[in-house]
């Protein structure tokens, strides 16, 4: 992520959209710092998007979120100029699309930017496969070639076999898959998704979100996702831009938005968010005390006494988790001259760092020792301590790791366990 984030896919600079008649006067008033409602009163013009500046990194999911009327749909339509900005610059791979001719713009729309719409916008008189290949059809791709790509694209969204149906024969969720397949068939760099899942019911929406994340990690395209649903934004966004009255009030990662709202509006917006669904094990894990397996039980006992804990994690030389030893077992081992390996408890509760807190409750509540957080190659990353879990849920910042820095386990907390 860090290497990629250097490359900016889209850069939007001081872009404004004014709807209505006295556009010039309205822009002038905007420069003077007048508010949206003042301008409406003075000129009758509506400010849709007000002086926004942001950039989108290559390969990220950038969510633009706001309530209805906040200008998010207008903003996303300016990115492919379905709506022309009144003033401003929109650089796509360094080229200003605002200055492009009709032909250049058409080329960008055909090759670089795909779009998925809230109400699917499928063509009712075309079959699913005809819908999917539409983008290629208008580029003049030969029929058999575009059909192959369209079928591939439909397979990608799990709709193989539906090629010859008509849109009205499909459920909403399936229709939106077609919308997605249609956008993907052109193989664009950027996918604009305007409230793409808002018309779907909650369960289907969640499935689609998961599939979108899967697609995103498979294809590495840049997604710009519009939503009014904060949970959705937090779930799928690498970064989120929060809009209000045509302005961007905060841009940041989901954690930044949740943990340090930039103003009262954002704070009010995020106060009802269920932290347990957003924070993951990575955010609350603490550094674990470990002992290498080739040390004896006596060393383990001494370490536990020093730290004031009743059990300790055992790792091999490359920090791979092997299990844990309790103080009792260590005492018994040292008396009978056994090695640590003989008394190790190996069926420990283990989780991955991406597990959200809601899925942690069960494991943490039944475990007799802190739950271990391990990486894919079995390395011990940290542990989850009950007190920290509860503290994090209450929104207390001191229990949440910022930027993945793991603090050592708190002595008092580990004693409780």
């Amino acid at each position: 992520m860090n290497e990629q984030s250097i490359k900016k896919k889209i850069v939007v600079k001081d872009t404004t959209k004014v709807f209505g008649k006295n556009v010039k006067r309205a822009v002038q008033l905007l420069k003077e710092g007048k508010s949206k409602s003042d301008i409406l009163k003075a000129t009758g013009a509506t400010v849709g998007v007000k002086n926004v500046t942001f950039d989108v990194n290559d390969g990220e999911i950038f969510v633009i979120m706001g309530l209805s009327g906040s200008g998010k749909s207008t903003l996303v339509r300016m990115l492919n100029r379905l709506i022309d900005p009144t003033v401003g610059q929109i650089l796509l791979d360094g080229e200003d699309i605002v200055q492009m001719s009709k032909e250049q713009l058409r080329e960008v729309r055909r090759k670089k930017i795909g779009m998925v719409f809230q109400n699917f916008a499928l063509f009712p008189h075309k079959t699913i496969v005809e819908n999917t290949e539409y983008g290629l059809e208008i580029q003049g791709v030969p029929k058999d070639q575009r059909r192959i790509k369209a079928i591939e694209s439909l397979k990608l969204v799990g709709l193989a076999g539906y090629e010859d149906q008509y849109p009205n024969q499909l459920s909403g969720g399936m229709q939106q898959r077609v919308g997605l397949a249609r956008a993907l068939a052109n193989d664009p760099d950027i996918l604009l998704m305007d409230e793409a899942f808002s018309a779907l019911d909650p369960l289907i929406r969640k499935d689609m979100q998961n599939e979108l994340l899967q697609l995103h990690s498979d294809m590495g395209k840049t997604f710009i996702f519009i939503t009014h649903d904060l949970d959705e934004a937090l779930r799928i966004g690498d970064r989120i831009a929060l809009m209000k009255d045509g302005e961007i009030v905060q841009i940041g990662t989901p954690e930044e938005i949740l943990m340090s709202p930039s103003n009262e509006y954002v704070e009010r917006f995020v106060e009802d968010v269920d932290l347990a669904k957003v924070l993951t094990a990575r955010h609350i894990m603490k550094k674990a005390d470990t002992i290498q397996v080739d040390r004896g039980p006596r060393v383990a006992l001494r370490l536990m006494k020093q730290l004031g804990i009743s059990s300790i994690y055992v790792v091999d030389k490359s920090n791979r988790l092997m299990g844990a030893v309790t103080a009792q077992d260590a005492v018994a081992a040292s008396e009978t001259d056994k090695s640590l390996e003989d008394v190790i408890i190996s069926n420990l509760p283990m989780i991955t760092p991406d597990t959200v807190l809601t899925e942690l409750f069960d494991v943490v509540s039944t475990a007799s020792i802190p739950v271990a957080v391990i990486s894919e190659d079995q390395k011990l990353l940290g542990i989850i301590i009950r007190g920290v879990l509860i503290g994090a849920l209450s929104g207390d910042n001191q229990f949440i790791n910022n930027d993945g820095i793991i603090e050592p386990a708190d002595q008092t907390n580990s004693e409780v366990v």
């Binding site: 960008v108 063509f123 008189h125 059809e137 208008i138 008509y166």
Partner: protein
Amino acid sequence: MNELLPRLPFADWIDSGVDWLVSTFGSVLDGIADVLGGVVEGAVTVLDMVPSILLAIIFALLAYFISTRKIALFTLVGLLFIDYLGYWYPMLQMLALVLTSVFLAVVIGIPIGIWGSQKASVRKVVNPLLDLMQTMPAFVYLIPAIFFFNIGVVPGVVASVIFAMPPTIRLTMLGIEQVPKDLIEATEAFGSTTGQRLLKIQIPLAKPTIMAGVNQSIMLALSMVVIASMVGAPGLGEEVYRSVTQLKTGVGVETGVSIVIVAIILDRITQQAGTRKKKIGGKLS
């Protein structure tokens, strides 16, 4: 009022305008008249070469494939009934006149409708003209039409075209404008040209509405046949007109009913043509 303001000689102006047109474009107008007259007469000749029973069966089959079995049966019985009454040839003359007029109304009307749907400025000119064409008493078209094209079937065709064209234009514009905005956005977002947007999305989706316009145009053209017969257009209309002048109620009813039968057949067949595509789409499920 008349004492305060001088009476402007509108009528004189228009008369001299028509005279000027006739004298300037006389040969062009004669050419048009020859072509139109030839087309109508040719159509009558061709239709008349087919035996009436066979033609009735052909029309019934056409109705069966486009529309329902009920309409097909009605077509067969209705046409044979007209033949039985002895109005077969006038019916063919009327049919040729109506179909020629509608063909011209559609060929001119749909492009104007498409043009109007794309440009607000065109709409601003076309809409009031359409109002004028529809509200002006149809007889008024006949007078200059006689000057331009003499007496006979041609002024009848011209007057019918003018009278029948507005619904096709209006409903073409309406149909294209009614294509949902998000579909237009989708075509734009994928980089369609204006032509691609029109041909691949807007016109196909507007087709049922456009066909409703064509259907209306056919009905209006049919309603013109009696009026057209006043300038000498032959056909069932002529029979009706004659029965009116001679106060023959029986003949009037017979010919009137014949026109109604043809009207119903044309109406049902063209109504179905507009919705046909959807039925096929549904059947695939």
